[in-house]
């Protein structure tokens, strides 16, 4: 039986036009989106196995000739759907700035040093229950041109696939208690406070590795399938 992913799930997302984030003004549609029933094209999605992920792709501190500078951290969590079911064997990609708040991307001209031992890209596959784990460096905050004295709170970009093409999610993980939160139009584009807080990782003392690295937990919740059939005739 074909099951639908309810559109109600999408209300947690930011509006596409969020004028406080200036780039949205010319990059969001002006005409209403057209509703349609999900067909097999929307309800299926790419499946990638272990061949896509190399050993150590989930440890961003092992990709250079030496160790990157900065605070080593563990970032782990559960990929699950809205019904609380783990999403197993799904690809999780991440990318981030280095400890100084500088991206390796050629366009990033923030005058902070690059780290020759840190690219800032990683990927892994969630395990049979949906759990994932990365080792990385805590990224720094960095300035951007949106408005006077604009700074992004430290964040890690995540890209997750899930069970279907409409469960695709690209988001950003933030760190608890960041003083930049009230001033960031991207973070605050999510208008509901509870939803916004789902983007903030939790400090996870229990899974900290003593004498080695602190740990943050970031659960990623994807759209769930409604138990009712999508036939609406």
């Amino acid at each position: 039986m074909t099951l639908s992913y309810p559109l109600q799930s999408l209300t947690a997302h930011p509006p596409r036009l969020s004028p406080g984030y200036k780039s949205t003004v010319k990059r969001s549609p002006t005409k209403p989106l057209i509703p349609m029933r999900h067909t097999l094209s929307e309800l299926t999605g790419p499946v990638y196995g272990h061949e896509t992920v190399r050993e150590n792709d989930n440890d961003l501190t092992l990709q250079g000739k030496g160790e990157p500078l900065g605070e080593r951290i563990i970032v782990h969590g559960h990929v699950l759907d809205e019904d609380g079911r783990g999403v197993p064997n799904t690809l999780v990609e991440l990318w981030q700035a280095n400890a100084c708040g500088r991206y390796v991307h050629v366009v990033d001209q923030h005058p902070a040093p690059l780290d020759p031992n840190f690219t800032g890209a990683g990927r892994t596959q969630s395990d049979s229950e949906g759990y994932y784990r990365f080792v990385t460096i805590k990224p720094g905050a960095y300035p951007w041109g949106n408005h006077h004295n604009a700074w992004r709170p430290a964040h890690i970009h995540f890209s997750v696939f899930g069970h279907s093409f409409v469960s695709r999610l690209v988001t950003q993980m933030y760190f608890p208690g960041d003083p930049l939160f009230p001033f960031d139009p991207i973070f605050n584009s999510v208008t509901d406070e509870k939803a916004r807080n789902r983007m903030v990782s939790g400090f996870d003392l229990e899974n900290t590795k003593p004498d080695w690295a602190l740990c943050y937990r970031f659960n990623i919740v994807l759209r769930g399938r409604n138990a009712t059939p999508m036939e609406t005739k």
Binding site: S9, A12, H13, P14, P15, R16, S18, Y21, K22, S23, T24, V25, K26, R27, S28, P29, T30, I34, M36, R37, H38, T39, L40, S41, E42, L43, T44, G45, P46, Q63, H78, L80, E82, G84, E93, W95, Y103, V104, H105, V106, T119, G120, A121, E129, Y131, H157, H163, V166, R168, L169, V170, T171, F187, K194, A195, R198, M199, V221, L222, M230
Partner: protein, 203 residues
């Protein structure tokens, strides 16, 4: 770790892919990182009509969007998806049906793939061959979904999804064949805004 899960309060909200994703998602040999995906979907055992689908992405000022990521998802030439949820999937084909492309300095994109077969809608009505397209970019807090159909397909006239689109906007979804040294090239530009604003779907 505990298996006990409370039902979450809702999905994790989307955030923009930002301007700096290329080294992680579409490095294309420019960074010290291997790409998981490419814009070439064709594998050695892929059957079907090979096509290139290309175009440019423009913002509301008509400027090329040079920092855009496009992803496509499609059926094989027999209309089957490489996903265990499609019970008809062909185990002997390595065609995955998924492609990813970062736009170039002109906002340009291209996918090398095969023209998909016919996929039924939930009522069993045939849908014309189409790609599902997701658009990500700086300035886009949540990606957009649209479809790419193929000009000249008789099935476009009766496609149940195209039928939902006002007739004067359907052209924004139909790639037109361009003559290019005998290869099948289809061209479709994506416009975020303006007179030719692309139709996006609420899915």
């Amino acid at each position: 770790m505990s298996k006990a899960q409370n039902k979450p309060e809702g999905v994790t909200p989307s955030q923009t892919v930002g301007p700096y994703f290329a080294y992680g998602l579409t490095s294309n040999g420019q960074y010290d990182w291997n790409d998981a995906f490419s814009n070439n979907l064709v594998t050695s055992d892929t059957s079907g009509e090979r096509v290139r689908v290309e175009g440019q992405v423009f913002d509301g000022d008509g400027k090329p969007m040079v920092d855009c990521m496009l992803e496509i998802w499609q059926a094989d030439a027999q209309g089957r998806f490489s996903d265990p949820q499609d019970k008809r999937a062909l185990p002997n084909s390595s065609f995955k049906g998924f492609g990813r492309c970062g736009t170039d300095g002109n906002g340009g994109y291209a996918f090398d793939t095969i023209k998909p077969g016919i996929v039924a809608d939930p009522d069993g009505k045939p849908q014309a061959p189409h790609l599902v397209l997701a658009v990500f970019a700086r300035g886009m807090l949540l990606h957009l979904y649209t479809r790419i159909y193929f000009g000249g397909e008789a099935g476009n006239a009766t496609d149940p999804v195209l039928a939902l689109v006002p007739a004067d906007r359907r052209a924004t979804l139909i790639a037109q064949q361009a003559n290019c040294n005998g290869n099948a090239v289809y061209r479709l530009d994506i416009h975020m805004q303006g007179d030719n604003e692309t139709v996006f779907f609420d899915v």
